[in-house]
């Protein structure tokens, strides 16, 4: 029998598995899909905007955790544990060969160009992205490719210029990336793993760049050989090279996912996708097993402890219907979400305070066990991490990855 069964292979699930296996436990991860990493920017956002002041970007996130509500997962953990989780993440990714960096001024948010040219607050970013920080005043050359549909260099450059950052745009022939017209960003990244392609692209970059500039490219600079591709391009072009994320699928997110998964598997943890949990069995408040759907018949997974890392609405961990009912799909845990559709949304899509339906979730105690209305744990051997937690809107406050890491890495914290 295994010690921990983690449900969900997003960042919070992978971090929980890592925390458990590091403490010497036997761990398995099962998941339906592969989580939000495939959609995001690949950076680690810890806290970009406070719920009540979405206009002003948070400069030093760890110092502002105290401004969050009492039921916020960061508040429950406390700042030291959050910091500790992030430190562990940095050590882990460094060890696995995909290092993440923070701002030069320690503790500050990086401000990185978004694919629309806004500046996005990220606490940690992969090496290839952190070089795009706005705190560096080297002018930017934003390089796009003709007819690449998921990246618009002129839009980025114009918006950066508006915000006082020197930037200009050029477009290179699409053929430098691929001979296939309908390749997606992941396929394009794989093509750049080919050294000949990297060399040809480097020649064009050398032509285009002016002295003193740094070069921003869409985030598809290699997949398996990413670090080499970036180094080679920078060396040949004679200028720093950085990545700006594109529309999904997210190459930086997939690199992180692949890296963490490989790291876990090297530690003996299996990560199995395509397994939706459809049933559970508990006796006297203790979960015995859960069953996942497979093409044949349901498969039972028993464990000492269970970790729910299914990610709320975004991850598919919560379902809802037209009557306004919203429920947690595996254990039917109590949710704080309003049970009436008329209270779910605000009139503006970009409402500064976010939408109430996305702020609800599973209430937990200090040990991150789900609790009922009286505060009693629902099950003795269940923990909840990541996007399923109540008390926050991780997208609105830009804390999605930070929450996943902090709650996952602290799974075993007493």
């Amino acid at each position: 029998m295994i010690d921990y069964l983690v449900m969900g292979a997003g960042l919070s699930g992978l971090m929980s598995a890592y925390a458990a296996v590091q403490s010497g436990h036997r761990v398995k991860v099962i998941a339906k899909g592969l989580g939000a990493l495939h959609w995001g920017a690949g950076s680690i956002d810890v806290l970009g905007y406070l719920p009540q002041a979405r206009d002003a970007v948070v400069r030093r996130p760890l110092e502002r955790l105290a401004d969050l509500p009492a039921n916020h997962p960061y508040t429950i953990l406390g700042p030291a544990a959050v910091q500790d989780g992030l430190d562990k993440f940095m050590r882990l990714t460094e060890e696995l060969g995909l290092p993440y960096y923070g701002a030069e001024a320690a503790g500050e948010n990086l401000l990185l160009p978004s694919p629309a040219g806004a500046l996005r607050p990220a606490f940690l970013a992969p090496a290839a992205q952190s070089a795009g920080t706005a705190s560096d005043d080297a002018p930017m050359l934003i390089v796009g490719f003709e007819r690449l549909r998921d990246f618009y260099p002129e839009l980025i450059a114009e918006n950066l210029t508006r915000q006082g950052i020197a930037a200009r745009a050029v477009k290179l022939p699409y053929e430098l990336l691929s001979d296939r017209r309908d390749a997606n960003t992941v396929q394009l990244a794989q093509e750049l793993d080919d050294e000949n392609r990297t060399e040809r692209l480097a020649e064009f970059l050398r032509e285009a760049v002016r002295p003193g500039e740094r070069i921003g490219l869409p985030a598809l600079l290699g997949l398996a050989r990413h670090a080499q591709v970036v180094t080679r391009l920078a060396l040949a072009a004679g200028a720093p090279v950085f990545e700006i994320p594109t529309l999904p699928p997210s190459v930086p997110g997939i690199r992180l996912f692949n890296t963490l998964r490989a790291g876990l598997e090297a530690r003996g943890v299996r990560v199995e996708a395509g397994m939706e949990v459809i049933e559970m069995n508990a006796e006297e408040g203790v979960i015995r097993w859960v069953a996942s759907e497979t093409s044949a018949r349901p498969l039972r997974h028993s464990a000492e402890r269970f970790v729910l890392a299914t990610g709320g609405i975004l991850g598919g961990g919560f379902m809802s219907d037209h009557t306004g009912r919203i429920w947690e799909t595996v254990f039917d845990l109590p949710l704080t979400t309003p049970q009436s559709r008329s209270q779910w949304f605000r009139p503006a899509f970009l409402a500064p305070d976010g939408h109430p339906v996305f702020q609800g979730g599973v209430r937990v105690n200090a040990a991150f066990q789900p609790v009922d209305a009286q505060g009693a744990p629902c099950f003795a051997n269940l923990h909840v991490v990541g996007g399923a937690l109540a008390g926050c809107d991780p997208l609105a406050e830009r804390s999605l990855e930070g929450l996943a890491i902090a709650t996952g890495m602290n799974l075993l914290k007493e």
Binding site: A36, W39, G40, A41, D45, R54, V57, S114, P115, A116, G117, A118, L119, R120, R147, R149, D150, F151, Y152, E154, L155, E158, N159, R162, Q163, R180, R181, D182, A183, P245, L247, P248, S250, I313, L314, G316, M319, S320, D321, H322, G324, S340, R341, S342, W344, F345, R346, P347, A348, F349, L350, P352, V357, F358, L395, A396, R398, L400
Partner: protein, 586 residues
Amino acid sequence: MKRINTEILVIGGGATGTGIAWDAALRGFAVALVERRDLTHGTTGRYHGLLHSGGRYVVKDPQSAVECIQENRTLRHTHAHCIEETGGLFVVTPEDEGDFPDLFVQGCAETGVPCNEISVAAALRREPLLNPRISRVFEVPDGSADSFLATHATAQAARQAGARILTYHAVTGLLVTGGDGDKRVVGARVMDAVSGEEIHIHAAMVINATGAWAGRITGMVGIPISVIPGKGTMVAMNHRLVNTVINRCKMPADGDIIVPVHTVAVIGTTDERVADPENLRIEPWEVQLMLDEGEKLVPGISRARVVRAWAGVRPLYQEDYTGDSRDATRKFALLDHQRGHGVAGLITITGGKWTTFRLMAEKTVDLAVDYLGERQPCRTASTQVPGAEQGHYWLGHRLHEIEEEHLQGELICECELVTRTMIENAAKRNPTVTLDDIRRDVRLGMGPCQGGFCTYRAVGILHELARQAEGAGPTEEETKEGTERDAAWEVAYLQSPRHNLSADERPARDEAGLQPNLLLRDFLQERWKGVTPILWGRQLKQERLDELIYLNLMNADHLPQTGEKSPLTDFYLYDATPNEQTEAPA
């Protein structure tokens, strides 16, 4: 202040007004049309999509049925490419008992609506998802019609005949001479919503074709006509669950028709009196009612994914009008305000159906001719609009062309199969103030992901075009025509990937000074407005993914220029929160 002189000024760029501009221009009148937003912004762009056979009206309103079948045949010729020949079925469900089916058959015979009873088994072979418990089925020549394309094509035909089409131009007042007893409307004060400029348009005849807004225009000269807006809600399902129009065979009521429209199936409608034709909130019970009623025709439909809900307004005209009525039927009102209210130079046309817009336009211009004098006869019934030579629309046409031309890599909107050059050409050939205008041209963002990917891409593309235009300077044509946004209306081939393999040579028209961040925000909000009434289940998850893209990845809520507004920003920002009511009012 600018001044324009014309013979006929048409107010309203819906099907009716555009049809009038076309008809009058073909007869040889000088015509200008003003629409305060884009063409089809009103009811025409929010209707159900049904080209009526007349079957729906054979029992309740035989005169309407006669008009529908006549116009149904005419539009299949004049607007062939805007129509899909789906055919229609009237089905008797277990709830629809009584003698209605027999009255229906008799009514079809009397009004000339072709009707053919087929076996239930044959109906189920054709539409396998249909309720197997139906007892009788009648086949009629209903169709599915694209009102965006049809109205834009009609506008292009009108322009070719010499009409001026001014979009984003709102009438703010009427120009009047004389006093009580001999009042005459001689034109209108018009506000250019993009530049803010005021224009006076002088005309011998002003035709008010503003549909549910008609009372607001007549109110400007003190004519109290009572037009009560009646709201109708529709919901679009993710899939084309049926390929034939499905009607309940009973007295017309709520939610009794399912229309296959392009890639989706639309259930409609409700009918609720509202105070304001503009701020249409969709209540949860309305969506529920549509799903419940749809369930009776296609069991299981309510478990399918809903992609969007919207509402249109019917103008309910109150018959307290005393003038010499030239109404062709009770269903549309043609008001001669000289005879009715002693105010010369103004005609109002309101009500009716999309299917009969051409006929309404013909009757309206006939009335104008009484005052302006005879010109050439009406020719709209036999004149094809540009693009009609392509023949009828069929669902697979885009996919077929994309595959044949290997355009998979050019797709900007994967759901609706819109290529980059289709967007570029739409922006070059038509006035574009918002992304919503492009949506109407090429169906951008209308599929299951509701703009998640294509909003950003389309903004990026339009921004690139605008940058090129800045470099290119004004064309000869533009210099000649000044800054008017009526220069181009070329829609005939916009919907066809194959006809847009390369982008036009001419630069894009960037008269408003394109603001990419505003385009982005406006369109995201427009989509939000359409999805909030139906967000639950998988569609709610989809929306959260869109948030991930536009908040976390793009940081779209912190782009520069947050204070900027388009003529439509406020419209999109209406209160979308459904209220507490969960039941239909008794």
